[in-house]
Amino acid sequence: MNATSMTAGSVEWKNPPRGQVGMLALIAAESAIFTIFVVAYLFYIGKSLSGPTPKEILSVPIFYTICLLSSSLTIHFAARALRQGKVKSFGLLWFATFALGAAFMYGTAMEWYRLIYHEGFTISTNLFGTTYYSLVGLHAFHVVVGLTALFLVMAFTLLGSVRAEHAERIDVLSLYWHFVDAVWVVVFTVVYLIGR
């Protein structure tokens, strides 16, 4: 998906790159979806008729948040490495990104296990339960999709198929990953700061 550049006749003509524009458009659509879930979460704060409140049972996942947000840094440097042709550095940084993202998912899984099995708190417990699991779950789903894509790229890297000329595609994918992290910043703020 290279930027289309042609010199035809008298005019030097450069169009924006397709991959990035398409990914930004997708991100816009996904942001709209998340916005609705965030609005529902905010609207229902304090409106549950019964059951546990956020203050009572939520614990703030600081460590796993740091993991996820750091993965934005590692993916950024990975993409830069690939652009410079340093495939080995790219591979290591990419693996670090995957590992950090996977750690975040592990943290979410542990948190949900505790909430469901120790606290008996589920999506049907009350309004808080419904909005919490939906919002965090929607985000987690997007992380899983991202991890799947990251994993595929890792596999291709190990097979030696990834080279500097693929840097633009990696840029497009990292856009998605940055988006997932940015959403977590919003979700974290809404659920663990505002809502508690």
Partner: protein, 557 residues
Amino acid sequence: MSTDAIALPGTESAERPFVDGLHAWVTTVDHKRLGILYIVYALIFLVVGGIEATIMRIQLIRANNDFVSPQVFNRLFTLHGTTMIFFVAMPMVFGFANYLIPLMIGARDMAFPRLNAFSFWLTAFGGFLLYFSMIGANGLYGAGNAPDVGWFAYAPLTARTFSVGHSTDFWTLSLLISGFGSIGTAINILTTVLCMRCPGMSLGKMPLLPWLNLVMSGMVILAVSPLTAAQVMLMIDRYLGGHFFDTQAGGSAVIWMHFFWIFGHPEVYVLVIPAFAFMSEIIPVFSRKAIFGYPVMVGATIAIGFISMSVWAHHMFTVGMGANANTFFALSTMAVGVPTGIKIFNWLATMWGGKILFKTPMLFAIAFLFQFLIAGLTGIMLSCVPFDWQLTASYFVVAHFHYVIVGGILFGIFAAFYYWYPKMTGRMYNETLGRWHFWLFLIGFHLTFDFMHIPGLLGMPRRIYTYEAGRGWDIWNLIVTVGAVFQAVGTLVFVFNLVWSYFRGKIAGSDPWDAWTLEWSTSSPPPDYNFAVIPEVKSRRPLWDLKHPNDPDWKYE
């Protein structure tokens, strides 16, 4: 790309031409073929939706009629609305966009051809799923079948308690799936317009059709997503015990309305903006003048795009949002009428001083102007909140929105059909049949939808399978039903014309209308690769420049 493209002339696949042809269509990623697939798909569902409407009109032709049961009637209006919006209007709009945009911007295909195909098949599957509900949705107490919750599916009617069985789920899932298809196509259109224009075609030199479809795509991206979110929430409520819209648990029925209409209102602009695009291409050509006020047309459309995202709660004036909210949404709704009116004036100014040719596309375009004007004015009436407290949820508002969708959008689509039919098929449609279609449909449209306003003014609510005698509604309902017959016959003439002309129409040539945009520089139909050499343009009307070398547009733009 279909394999037919590179077949040498004279050679044919000898053994199974039909199967190979079918395979080519099913696996195509070519924007022109996908465009035609979308359009034919939409046409089929137009007939289906029309049959649903006709049955409802027969039921309502007199008081206390029993042509169909209330259960069947409620499914009919649900299916009719859902089908017409999601499986007729949206695919129609996407189909024309797909076909025309690459040709008009001098590109060989859309930005993401495989995503294009995937989006089409998602939409197609969604339609199939919705209608499969008629046989597949049997739930408890036999109360499963086609969905019957209305096309906007208000909560808590959609909760498991009130909608037993799976009919509502078929509604939700079919729209969820086709919604992904819509978002995919919107991403494709947006990227294509921004990234694939031919040299010299800056955004300011792009024809209005790609411009308006760009705005439409942005709106789809921002507006269909809330519907997707709301539908996921509904499924969570129905199957995971969630409480998003569970009023017994403190949930809110009103929040569904907000989420739905945040989608629902921009959606109707998504449908009408491409109709505006058709008008902006057709009216200039048949008036023999450039479009009046190109920059203002672009600006007005962008303004409509933004403002229309802020008017949604005018569907909720009776819900009890409070005087302040009602007042705000009255203002934003009235405001969106201003850029819309500006567009009507600009089309009028385009015709002014021109040499108007009354071919079938132009007949439909002129009717569009007249009817869209009226639709906009009844919309202004509805934006006056207290007046809306009487008019909403009555046959007045049903008349209003059909005036927009049929009188505006469908007439615009008919105009587009006739205008680009020669390009897509290489043959001219039959002009006489075109006029028969126009007059029959025009008479039917006005009989039905002009007189439909009156029962609304006389207190007839919508979505009722029958009504009492003595309300003064009978005669008007009778006239409305009669109009439906005219429209049905007109549509049959139209479909016949499409088919007959395909085989017997005069060969059209590449530019039968003496038009000015790039699609008319290709053969009819265009080759698979669209352009042998990517063109370079200097103005908004590249073919005008070629035809008038002493007086090209770029001297004046």
